[in-house]
């Protein structure tokens, strides 16, 4: 990176495209709007001490015996034997304050795990967009927005948030040579920003979640700055900055 110029911002719209990027010197913002990274921001805004993203249900269960609260979601639903699913509302629980949490989700924790080779990994959502973008500007380092998507397919809500971040950072960052996904994300956000909920009406993930009757979760996750913290990965664990 040329320190005399602006740092670069890039958008990776699916984990399957992440191998095209060079994240070793970059900050990776992991994005899973519905609902993992939104819920993680809520947990830290409500005083969680730490959160370990784990790959499997079994890994998550193993943390239970270590005194962790454990969360798990598969196919959009909470699982028996767990303290939480993936709803942001469950992370407003009184038990959250000063707790250590282990969480596994379909896409979000997978994206956090594949981002581990980056210089720094942080968690992004509409709920922390302003504090996150202000913090990113101060770092003067290349940024890659990593959309968790849905099982390696692109999804609109993660791409829209990446576009919102590009929009917020456009004066302080340049696009890389592979700018097209950043341009596309920003332009889709420009179409959607006045009514994110309405815009996502036809999206694939929204349709899937509708079947689960979690419209309140979706409304919550599309609000700005309700959880103004920046979760950062240190080793295998997320902490609030």
């Amino acid at each position: 990176m040329n320190r005399s110029s602006k740092p670069l911002i890039d958008v990776c719209i699916s984990p399957a495209l992440y191998p095209q990027f060079s994240p070793q010197d970059s900050i990776v913002v992991v994005i899973d709007i519905l609902r993992a990274t939104s819920s993680i921001c809520v947990a830290f805004a409500n005083g969680a001490s730490s959160l370990v993203p784990v790959a499997t249900i079994e890994d998550s269960m193993a943390y239970k015996t270590k005194g962790f609260l454990i969360g798990a979601e598969r196919q959009g639903a909470m699982l028996d034997g767990f303290d939480f699913g993936n709803s942001p509302f469950s992370y407003m629980d009184a038990r959250i304050k000063n707790s250590n949490i282990a969480l596994t989700t379909t896409n979000g924790t997978k994206a956090l795990n594949i981002a581990k080779n980056a210089h720094t990994v942080v968690v992004g959502s509409f709920l922390n967009i302003d504090v996150l973008s202000q913090w990113l500007v101060k770092q003067n380092r290349n940024v890659i927005c990593l959309c968790a998507g849905w099982k390696n397919s692109m999804n609109l809500e993660d791409t829209l948030f990446a576009g919102a971040l590009v929009d917020a950072l456009q004066n302080d960052f340049d696009f890389s040579d592979f700018r097209d996904s950043a341009i596309a994300a920003q332009q889709l956000y420009s179409l959607a920003k006045n009514d994110l909920y309405g815009y996502l009406d036809n999206s694939s993930h929204r349709k899937r979640l509708e079947r689960l009757h979690i419209e309140d979760d979706i409304h919550y996750c599309l609000q700005l700055n309700k959880a103004p913290v920046v979760p950062v990965l240190r080793g295998h664990t997320l902490y609030a900055l």
Copy 2:
């Protein structure tokens, strides 16, 4: 596929995402607007008998001894010893009529090769959009728009054409459950369609091609219906339908 309902249309915005799709029963439309699939349409509109997409420069050279005209492009430029590069204008040459051509390009021929497991593979570009979409409607079969992109990254021009095709086919096709990339492509096309050239002004590939001084090629490739043929892959060779 449920034959009693409409077939599905999907958009694969990078070859790296193609493994997520199930193309065995689908028609795959391979898209490399700047410039491989545009030039292939031009070649057939000008009377080429056949065109073999080949992987390497060496493969292309080997066809020379078999009486083929050979084309090659790498890093956007034509190579010494070849009859053509990747410019649509070179495929208007008088030698094209009744010729057999072997062509290798950076992204387009690679995408044609990875699509070979599909039920049917055809070539799409703005230059053949109307005949192509009319033909697709008649097939009553699922369609996957495969964007060649640039070295596995998304690019805007291929995504825009996928969006144009979704737009043209929206009354005759449904979206699959993984509809988000099709929605995104269609919406980006809606932003761009009144001035494709202006819209692509900041795109990554356009910037790369500008360095090669091929603005005329770009203008040509963004026109509608200048080469109204549908190239289809049979075995390893493309023919006009």
